[in-house]
């Protein structure tokens, strides 16, 4: 496919690898923010291609992984009601709640449906006026415009039986949380290309300056990621800390303005709890007053519910780049994609699932 295949070209990747080798003189630790990039890196073995001096640590950019336990429980409570059709992206169905996941609700007769787009959930609501239809609005800035449009259309067309369970998180506050942690090792970032397609990258400029870290907006294919690493390492070697844009075929500095316009109408910035990390101020989105009638937490009276995270899962440390999946005693033994302890083992983009799928030899080494 055009704009995918050429960015998987082996000769181009090899040229970039050599260039990285040439510019690297010291040890550097970079974090790729987005779970999609983590998946590409582990799948294509990009981390193993890089010089030993460069370490890639995997960031918190998997919305499925950072959704807190209590929100999964709330989803399970709502989905278990007889009067409800609960719609979600497929990867949320197997994330474990305190007692069950959404797939178990479905197996027990609950009407849980996987949809491709939040607009499909609005259509289901129009076709089923006697039912309450709830969409699990999970995601980063990339997904927020789609979810905003679903709520906006529901309001416009008077689809009163539609609501959303909001679990929207924002990337820049998470990067700041990583950088301000006393255990932080990250010296440069590959920022998430699709998040920046929506938001642009002006909000990263003060972060780069304040924490003295280079930030390179990067795409998702091997050639993109290698070029992002090259640009980031070049900055580090030259002592610069600028925001640069590797993914310029899609990202403009100001981002997508029509999308930002609707986002600011439908959503407002709120504090959010991140699984394994805790609450981060101003790190998520909630509905504005104009759209608050569409908030499923209020409609089904689950807003006050809280739950404690399980102690054994170290996904919080993995999401902050402090530990690697194979350093967890449960990894690949008691915790597998079939029986996950935490969301990082469930989602395709979760670091634990990516290592389980492509780096099983690390488990074998650990056992031996």
């Amino acid at each position: 496919m055009k704009y995918l295949d050429e960015y998987r070209d082996a000769a181009a990747a090899e040229k970039l690898r050599k260039a990285i080798e040439r510019v690297t003189t010291r040890e550097w630790t970079l974090m790729e923010v987005c779970g999609g990039q983590t998946h590409s890196i582990v799948k294509f073995g990009i981390d193993e291609l890089l010089p030993d001096k460069i370490e890639l640590v995997h960031g918190p950019g998997c919305p499925v992984c950072v959704t807190p336990l209590e929100l999964i429980d709330k989803a399970v409570m709502i989905a278990s009601r007889d009067d409800t059709i609960f719609c979600s992206f497929g990867d949320m169905l197997r994330v474990p709640g305190s007692e069950k996941d959404l797939l178990m609700v479905k197996a027990n007769g609950g009407d849980v449906r996987i949809v491709y787009s939040p607009l499909d959930a609005v259509t289901i609501a129009r076709e089923n006026p006697a039912k309450q239809v709830v969409f699990f609005a999970v995601g980063f800035e990339t997904t927020a415009p789609a979810n905003a449009m679903a709520v906006h259309q529901a309001k416009q067309f008077g689809v009163g039986n539609f609501s959303i369970l909001v679990s929207h998180v924002l990337v820049p506050p998470a990067m700041e949380a990583v950088l301000s942690s006393p255990q932080n090792r990250v010296q440069g970032f590959l920022a998430a290309g699709h998040v920046c397609t929506v938001m642009g990258y002006t909000e990263y400029e003060p972060i780069a300056k304040r924490y003295k870290v280079p930030i390179v907006v990067t795409g998702f294919e091997p050639v993109d990621i290698l070029q992002g690493v090259l640009m980031c390492v070049t900055q580090l070697e030259e002592g610069r800390c600028d925001v640069e844009n590797q993914y310029s075929r899609s990202v403009r500095r100001e981002g997508n303005l029509p999308a930002q316009d609707l986002l600011s109408k439908v959503f407002r910035i709120v504090p959010r709890k991140w699984r394994g990390v805790g609450e981060i101020p101003r790190s998520g989105l909630g509905l504005t007053r104009e759209y608050e009638d569409f908030d499923a937490e209020t409609r089904f009276a689950v807003a006050a519910y809280t739950a404690e995270e399980p102690a054994e899962c170290i996904s919080g440390l993995i999401l902050q780049g402090i530990k690697k999946p194979y350093e967890c005693p449960a990894f690949g033994t008691r915790c597998t994609p079939e029986h996950p302890f935490g969301a990082t083992m469930v989602s395709n983009e979760g670091a634990c699932a990516a290592y389980y799928q492509y780096r099983r030899h690390l488990v074998r080494q650990k056992v031996a």
Partner: protein
């Protein structure tokens, strides 16, 4: 979750740019796409699509930059490898 796929815009329905939809071809699979956020998109453009929404129009010139850079770098690399 933030996966977005490039597809070629093969038809556009509606003229009001705020409510446009269209069909995009992803290597043989054609899907209905919401075009509200890409008022600039026209037939034949490649759009980047996430959960049924086009988020950007791919800029051909920008897309070629990495390969131009690699070509230039290739020449530079060969020069550096000449034994003294």
């Amino acid at each position: 979750m933030c996966l977005a796929v490039p597809g070629k815009l093969v038809s556009i329905d509606g003229s009001d740019t705020a409510f446009r939809t269209g069909r995009a071809n992803f290597g043989g699979i054609v899907k209905q796409i919401n075009l509200s956020y890409v008022p600039e998109a026209k037939l034949g453009d490649y759009i980047l699509v996430h959960v049924g929404f086009a988020l950007s129009v791919i800029e051909e010139e920008e897309a070629a930059k990495v390969f131009t850079y690699l070509e230039e770098m290739g020449e530079l690399g060969e020069l550096q490898e000449i034994p003294v």
